[in-house]
């Protein structure tokens, strides 16, 4: 035992359960041993069952490895065993905060394979619903980001708005979270009476509330100190990883599917994409707030331009997509959603690849985490917007 004294030759005592960050003194200098810490799978900062294995040197993260798959439900396999009507109810569920945008992607993919023309009114309503869904999603992240930084109030405010929006969306779709409102060839049914009025009113309320969120957090000294310059993402790294959505827009790249490959009637609308340049947590958060305003602009344009007419086409009882393959992109709230649909002519897809924004975002996260502080990890994970179900599918 005498030859393995702790201070001789730098032998590190293997720790018991309470092992700390060990420091050894070697040649007159301090050499620290890293502490291995599992953040998750059950942890308040991971929004679900995501695990991030980090090696800590004191409070500095040396290495970070996200471990995913805890919520893998095999949606891509399930989709191969469901007909298209069922798939729409299925894809609602992988990113439960962007339900409508997901189902829209599938419908668009099938419609493109079938070369189906969707009624004008349905397309406008699809835009309306997408934008409301986007706001719903962003409200969630605005609230939770504050919560993670220790500001517990914003989440109550944002959930108040979420409830209001969900209530009138429920009147049209019947769902509060999983809308299942889209159908191949149109929509489930037309908007109910009074929906547009409620929507108009909510849009006006939402505008003033959005300023409230800005006042609540952005001007706060501590909030700025916690987020500015934290987890700055370079645009080339972001693009290389396939990062999209608000996380990408914060880096200064204005890649948005609504601009670059407009679907539905986005080409007829004036789409604004807020962009910032620093790519840090603060910018990602500001982009989120600005996107709410941009979505409200779109919603108001839809209120004005919504044409009358039918909302769906007469479809055969079983929808069969002709043989072929196509890739459809939609701008989901968290980034670009993609559906690569391969059909063999049957009523179930041969293969449906779901490209989800959260997957790419989480893949990039170690780039930001390594070298940052443990507390910054929370600010980074909270602002690289992701939904674990969307990562794992």
């Amino acid at each position: 035992m005498s030859e393995t004294l702790p201070h001789e030759g730098g032998v590190i005592l293997p720790g018991g359960p309470g092992e700390a960050m060990s420091v050894e003194i070697r040649d007159g200098g301090l050499v620290t041993q890293e502490m291995n810490l599992n953040i998750g799978p059950q942890h308040p900062a991971t929004h679900g069952v995501l695990r991030v294995v980090i090696d800590l040197d004191g409070e500095v993260i040396v290495r970070a490895r996200p471990v995913i798959g805890y919520m893998h439900r095999g949606f891509e396999k399930l989709a191969e065993a469901r007909d298209y009507r069922q798939i729409i109810a299925l894809v609602n569920r992988h990113d439960w905060l962007s339900a409508f945008c997901n189902e829209l992607g599938v419908a668009l993919a099938v419609e493109r394979l079938m070369e189906l023309e969707v009624p004008e009114r349905a397309q406008w309503i699809r835009v309306l619903m997408s934008e409301w869904n986007r706001i719903l999603n962003h409200l969630m992240f605005i609230g939770s980001f504050g919560l993670e930084l220790g500001a517990i109030t914003p989440v109550f405010f944002s959930f108040r708005e979420r409830e209001d929006i969900q209530s009138f969306l429920e009147s049209a779709t019947g769902g509060r979270l999983h809308f299942t409102y889209t159908r191949v060839g149109g929509l489930k049914e037309d908007l109910p009476a009074g929906f547009l009025d409620a929507s108009r009113q909510m849009a006006a309320t939402m505008r003033s509330r959005n300023d409230e969120y800005r006042q609540l957090l952005l001007g706060n000294e501590i909030f700025q100190a916690r987020t500015k310059g934290v987890g700055a993402l370079a645009p080339d790294v972001a693009v290389d990883y396939g990062v999209t959505g608000p996380t990408l827009h914060a880096t200064g790249v204005a890649e948005d599917v609504r601009l670059s490959e407009p679907y539905c009637v986005y080409d007829e609308l004036d789409v604004k994409v807020p962009v910032r340049t620093n790519g840090d947590s603060y910018d990602r958060f500001v982009v989120l707030l600005d996107r709410i305003d941009a979505s409200l602009d779109l919603i108001e344009q839809v209120h004005e331009g919504l044409p009358a007419g039918p909302v769906n086409r007469k479809m055969p009882k079983t929808v069969k997509a002709p043989e072929g393959a196509t890739y459809v992109r939609t701008e989901n709230p968290l980034g670009q959603g993609g559906y690569y649909l391969v059909s063999d002519g049957g009523k179930t897809p041969w293969r449906m690849r779901m490209r989800t924004p959260s997957f790419s975002n989480i893949q990039m996260v170690p780039e930001l985490l390594e070298g940052s502080l443990l507390s910054d990890m929370i600010a980074i994970l909270g602002s690289v917007y992701f939904v674990v179900g969307d990562v794992d599918r």
């Binding site: 893998h72 396999k77 191969e80 204005a254 601009l259 600005d290 393959a325 690569y340 063999d344 049957g346």
Partner: protein
Amino acid sequence: MPTVRSSETSPPATRLAPEAIAALLAERLPEAVTATTVAHGQLTVDVVPEHLPRAAALCKREKALAMDFFDMMAGVDAGEDGFHVVTRLYSTRHRHAVLLRALAEGGREAPRLPSLTGVYRGANWHEREAYDMYGIVFDGHPGLEPRILTVENFEGWPLRKDFLLTTREIKPWPGEKVPKAKEEPAKADAGGEPADDGPSEEEKAAAKKAKAERAKQKAAEMRAKKRAQREAEAGGAQGSPGEAAPEAGGEGRGGGGDEPGKGEGA
């Protein structure tokens, strides 16, 4: 707030038509490109597997293409031929895209492809997922194991068509919506609306019987496995339980998954 508006950003003039991209790729890499198809305005380029990284690197670095954005990678079961891997690359500057399709070498037994991680960092997890779902090995990937989405000791490749949904394995499925091999759907679809009519009484009875039989078989297997394990432990160190288990498990799965769709489809 600085915003980009759709009214200010018309499609850039440098955007290439799918045909132009196809021509450019075929000209620059004639040995790599085997076929090009344009469908629904999207370009799919079939690439020789070994030249896939070169093709991707060309797409990324060629000024006129500048496809800097790694969009996604999807494995597709191609039946007897093996597996396709479809990679979508996109240019944020020119707003054009290409789908590179490569058929993994090695057929269904040992599919292999060179890795794209050297070209795009984002390819890493997508390739791990393709490995997890189809068992496609990407040469040059920094680490495909452990499996990214399924549990670490998961057996089988879930998105292959010969892998049945576990629920179907445990509980007989009277319907027809089981992922089937390539020839099957046409046959099944001739039946009209099978999704709506429930299983007949005979089918139910037969299914019940089959289920009981399977359970019996499984129990016997388990007993045999346990016995083997005990013997191994008693016998000494030559056969560890860890070795015995996967073997037995593999047999069980093989029995259920060798002939996809048959029996259930009829």
